[in-house]
């Protein structure tokens, strides 16, 4: 019976551990685990008071089913809460991103680089920064929610580990008790086999009945422990699933942010933008923010940025400033090629 007491004592420790955790659901779980342990002890105590006629009843009782139902009831609420929390967080994250992209793409260019949403507005407006700050705050809030779920999973994991340790210790105790009782059984069997005057062995007979009852009770307890351990193993697998899911959601949220780019001097075609930047640094003349110029024969060749964000190379006579030739507007041709095209026009 010391083993049963140990189990109850482990449950007491478990309750203490869980009560030290701020998550009440887990404290309740541990309390229920303690109650379940006491229930097991009570059942075994009752059995102890029964005589041989109870053995048949014990054999018929569906022990496994009762034990597993008890444990499932204990863990169900907290598991449901974790599932709801995890998938809600993911849903909120998805909706938040979709809503932001939907709103911003009407007011400028939206690019997604990794977890950064880069927004280049058509017109600069200070309210965009406030919008970005609001988004970033919501992301932080979501991270905080996930931290609470993470703590709940950690605590649940700890509870499961503690219960498993207690059950393993209990099983070792059961095995030890079984060996002792079986040894006693062998001894009494030997005594019963030895010849005695009159053939009456009252002491050995009483002991034999007691041992048979004890052995049945131990087998019963062993079944319960095996069943609890199977449940705890299953719960450990489920907790691992939650941990993986939590990590996936956290990975998707950590680092998520909006960056507002000023639209000043922005050119929508990145390739063209780079080429123009290179050109600006190498060419001698620079006429205005968006135009680049070079000298060719008696002409100034200029690449002009037009209102519709296309480009055009224009040749003007150096002295008079008269427009001599120009290429067709383009959004795709590089500045070098535009200059070459213009030079070809001038040479013909």
């Amino acid at each position: 019976m010391n083993n049963i007491s140990n189990f109850a004592s482990q449950a007491d420790k478990l309750k203490g551990l869980a009560n030290s955790n701020p998550i009440s659901g887990i404290a309740n779980t541990a309390k229920n685990a303690q109650d379940a342990a006491k229930k097991v002890q009570g059942q075994v105590d009752d059995l102890k008071k029964q005589a041989t006629e109870k053995i048949d009843y014990l054999k018929k009782q569906s022990v496994g089913s009762a034990a597993s139902t008890a444990l499932s009831v204990l863990f169900l609420p907290i598991l449901k809460k974790i599932i709801k929390g995890l998938f809600s967080a993911e849903k909120i994250k998805n909706k938040l991103i979709a809503a932001v992209i939907n709103q911003l793409k009407k007011k400028g260019k939206v690019e997604i680089q990794g977890k950064k949403i880069i927004f280049t507005p058509i017109k600069d407006d200070p309210s965009y920064q406030a919008f970005a700050d609001n988004f970033n705050n919501k992301v932080t809030s979501l991270q905080n929610t996930l931290t609470v779920i993470q703590e709940a999973i950690k605590a649940l994991d700890k509870v499961i580990t503690t219960i498993n340790t207690a059950l393993t210790a209990l099983k070792v105790g059961i095995q030890a008790a079984k060996i002792i009782i079986q040894a006693r059984l062998v001894k009494i069997a030997a005594e019963l086999a030895a010849p005695t005057p009159g053939g009456v062995k009252p002491t050995a007979g009483v002991d034999l009945t007691t041992i048979i009852v004890q052995l049945d009770k131990i087998k019963e307890l062993e079944k319960k422990v095996d069943d609890y351990q199977a449940i705890i193993s299953a719960l450990a697998i489920i907790i691992t699933l939650f941990k993986t899911k939590l990590q996936t959601v956290l990975d998707a949220i950590n680092g998520l942010s909006i960056v507002i780019n000023s639209n000043k001097n922005q050119i929508n075609n990145p390739q063209l933008n780079n080429n123009l930047t290179d050109k600006l640094s190498t060419l001698q003349g620079n006429v205005g923010t968006n135009n680049i110029t070079e000298t060719y024969l008696n002409y100034y060749l200029t690449i002009e940025r037009l209102a519709n964000e296309s480009y055009q190379a224009v040749a003007t006579e150096q002295v008079s400033g008269m427009k001599i030739a120009q290429t067709a507007p383009t959004k795709f041709v590089k500045p070098d090629a535009l200059f070459n095209e213009l030079k070809q026009i001038l040479n013909t």
């Binding site: 499932s72 598991l79 449901k80 599932i83 809600s88 719960l235 699933l241």
Partner: protein, 144 residues
């Protein structure tokens, strides 16, 4: 677009049994203030780069805010094409959801009542996947 036969402004017409434009060392530029219309009796072929060469430099680039394949007509509606990256992500999430459900149900088979929680988990995952479905549609390219 004005019908070419009805256009009265200045223009150059070239008409012959065969026209060949060949820039021996540089480019050909076709620029237009409005449309460039290519109409052929059979088919248009674009051959880019030397045959058998697989270089990223030899590419066919179309840069337009909207690309449509096939003309919209009566009873013909264009639909957005699927974006592969988003599609792969959704299929991957679906596989993970089913796999997680399978693991959950297998583990929970020994625990009455908890098995149904696996269904809640699958349902949550599927709802989130469903919310992402619109992301697979291209807002640039459309076809029939």
């Amino acid at each position: 677009m004005i019908d070419p036969s009805k256009y009265t402004g200045e223009k150059i017409e070239l008409s012959s049994g065969q026209l060949l434009f060949n820039a021996r060392s540089e480019n050909i530029f076709l620029n237009s203030a409005k449309y460039i219309s290519l109409s052929v009796g059979e088919s248009i072929h674009f051959d880019i780069g030397p045959e058998g060469e697989d270089s990223e430099n030899n590419k066919f680039l179309v840069n337009a805010p909207r690309i449509e394949f096939k003309l919209v007509g009566k009873g013909r509606e264009l639909t957005p094409v699927v974006r592969s990256k988003e599609m792969i992500e959704i299929i991957n999430n679906l596989i993970i959801a089913i796999n997680d459900y399978s693991t959950f149900v297998t583990a929970a088979s020994r625990i009455p009542n908890i098995a149904s929680t696996g269904a809640e988990m699958l349902n949550g995952a599927l709802q989130n996947i469903q919310d992402q479905l619109d992301n697979i549609k291209s807002d640039l390219t459309y076809t029939q």
